[in-house]
């Protein structure tokens, strides 16, 4: 554009500098919520340095958060695309039961091949449920809330049928040692979860797949007109959410050595809470995996801190409930100020 004599208007040509980037980041929800998280950690560590800040306790917080974080990464994608997935907890249980039975029947308790077989079964089950959700939403045009509410019930019922209503407690030793093992003092589960979150964030923020997720959530009609296969993309996102639930099922099996039939009813709501706390818009189009990571850890740290302080842990539920409302309210205020709609 050397031939253009007129000076370019401000901000038209100059790429955003570091200062601008930092300023934008500092006004974002993940940043505020990150500050809240840091403050919570500092507060509990100051009051109870030997218990809260002990390596044992920190390890526990991370372990508790890891399964939920994997689910929440999937929920981040779904919600940025303007959807919902209430079925992930049930899909996790179903995939875990199916994998545990296959490993029990056909596998060898010490063999890593058995574990690999379990992963294949769990991932296939999770993906199948996710595809079913996506099919109901994009083909039958049943709303995401209802479709995934339906498969939430169906998948849990299916898990009870497969297991005759009682938990399967025979899990291959090879999987249990993976679930309890660590590398350089960091549990494998945490390492795997961290890698998943990192990959999830990179794909969301840096690739065409991630960009389409934002576009579809921000304006599906415009995306369709721009030639994006909106239904196909949504189908893939629900499949991804199911796949991640299947993956989380194996981590859960490894950690608890049981299929935890009763243990995951709240997972979808906890995942949605985490995603919303991290600044992802309920109406789609905005959000980040970094925010979701912060959003997973705030309730986890709060619950753990309350227990250590001797406060009834039920208070955490009360506090988080109100914090979610406050976070969404603050977000609306911020948007109302900065943007004309």
């Amino acid at each position: 554009m050397s031939g253009v004599a007129a000076a370019p208007p401000d901000g038209l040509q100059a790429p955003p500098g570091l200062g601008r980037t930092l300023k934008t980041a500092a006004s974002s929800s993940p940043f505020y919520m990150g500050l809240v998280l840091v403050a919570l950690v500092a507060f509990f560590s100051f009051l109870h340095p030997t218990t809260f800040a002990s390596s044992f306790n920190v390890r526990n917080i991370f372990l508790d958060a890891s399964v939920l974080l994997i689910l929440a990464v999937g929920t981040t994608y779904i919600m940025i695309a303007g959807g919902f997935d209430l079925s992930i907890g049930s899909v996790l249980v179903f995939s875990g039961v199916a994998a545990a039975q296959v490993m029990l029947r056909y596998g060898n308790t010490e063999s890593l091949w058995t574990v690999a077989m379990g992963f294949v079964v769990a991932l296939l089950c999770g993906t199948a449920w996710g595809l079913f959700n996506g099919w109901c939403i994009t083909r039958l045009r049943v709303s995401a809330l209802i479709s995934t509410l339906g498969s939430m019930g169906a998948a849990l019922g299916g898990a009870y049928l497969l297991s005759d209503g009682s938990d399967i407690r025979t899990v291959p030793n090879a999987l249990i040692s993976l679930g309890h093992g660590s590398i350089g003092g960091v549990p494998w589960l945490v390492v795997i979860t961290a890698i998943m979150a990192l990959v999830g964030g990179i794909v969301l923020h840096m690739t065409r797949f991630g960009r389409h997720t934002y576009l579809v959530g921000s304006n599906p009609e415009a995306s369709r007109r721009a030639g994006i296969n909106v239904s196909g993309h949504l189908l893939r996102l629900y499949a991804l959410s199911g796949l991640l639930a299947g993956f989380a099922a194996m981590l859960s099996l490894g950690r608890f050595s049981t299929t935890t039939l009763e243990g995951h009813a709240n997972d979808p709501l906890e995942a949605i809470t985490a995603v919303v706390l991290g600044g992802t818009s309920l109406t789609g189009g905005r959000g980040s995996v970094v925010g979701t990571v912060v959003g997973v850890f705030i309730p986890a740290v709060l619950a753990n801190g309350f227990i250590i302080m001797g406060i009834q842990p039920f208070w955490q539920m009360v506090v988080i409930g109100f914090v979610v409302i406050a976070a969404v309210y603050a977000d609306q205020i911020k948007r109302g100020k900065g943007e004309r709609l």
Binding site: M206, Y214, G227
Partner: protein, 278 residues
């Protein structure tokens, strides 16, 4: 056929323009079940000209635009681009031939940046294996968008914030610039000023003229006759699914246009009223 001829003859028919149109449609008919939305429409658009497409509600304007931009397939009729017959299976086919559409609304994603909107559905990826993995080349998209905005003299308040923070007129500019950036031949603009105030409307019309001056054909669909008279080079009038007049924009008045749209001119000239849809 003879009926179509009768109504095509405009009361103001000047000397026929002997230039090859860049986009030419003949005998376009579109039926939705029993409803005949278009009944043998003719349409021409010329490079470097603004062709206004006007007509009352139900005249078939949006159906015609959807057919010419690949959204619908015509029931009958032919479309030619640069003299070669084409058929569009989807908007992507029209895009491939350099035909773009800027819709009145619903065409931008408010949560994303201007450059993400300019490249939506056509994102640029990095060279090499990162590109094969789908990694975006945000720097080049931002640069190319800035160049496109500058070429059309659109100064956005912020190139990096979500466009929800821009005014309605600026958001409309993004949608129009996107169509212009990708169009090699024809841009359709469906009511680009319908939602805008006076100042923003004037700016948008200037933008439409600048796009025309880049040498592509602009087709402006509008209800606002003053806008049409202000910018159009040629006015094509549809009524009841047919083209009933093609008028060069010379000394046209709002009354002329309204008369042509509603049939008052035909009646005055003693032409047959097109028969109502059976």
């Amino acid at each position: 056929m003879d009926a179509a001829h009768a109504v095509t003859a405009s009361p103001r028919a000047d000397t026929p323009i002997m230039r090859a149109p860049i986009l030419r449609a003949r005998g376009i008919t579109k039926r939705f079940g029993h409803v005949e939305a278009l009944r043998g429409v003719e349409f021409d658009a010329h490079a470097g000209e603004i062709t206004a497409l006007i007509g009352d509600n139900g005249a078939g304007k949006s159906t015609l635009v959807k057919i010419l931009s690949g959204v619908y397939a015509p029931t009958e009729g032919t479309i030619e681009v640069d003299g070669a017959p084409v058929s569009f299976g989807s908007p992507a086919d029209a895009h491939a031939l350099g035909i773009e559409t800027a819709y009145q609304d619903l065409s931008v994603c408010p949560d994303l940046s201007p450059s993400a909107n300019m490249f939506m559905g056509r994102e640029a990826v990095r060279p090499g294996w990162l590109g094969r993995l789908g990694f975006l080349d945000n720097a080049s998209m931002r640069r190319d968008s800035a160049v496109a905005f500058q070429k059309l003299k659109v100064a956005l308040k912020d190139m990096d914030a979500p466009i929800a923070s821009l005014s309605g007129g600026q958001r409309q500019s993004v949608a129009i610039c996107r169509a212009a950036m990708w169009a090699k031949r024809v841009v359709f603009m469906d009511e680009p000023t319908a939602a805008l105030g006076v100042v923003q409307t004037a700016r948008t019309l200037d933008l439409v003229k600048r796009i025309r001056d880049t040498g592509i054909a602009v087709v402006l669909i509008s209800h606002n006759m003053r806008d049409v008279i202000q910018v159009a080079d040629t006015v094509e009038v549809l009524r009841l699914g047919r083209r009933i007049a093609t008028m060069p924009n010379k000394n046209l008045s709002v009354q002329d246009l309204v008369g042509a749209m509603t049939g008052a001119l035909d009646a005055a000239a003693g032409l047959a009223e097109p028969e109502a849809v059976a």
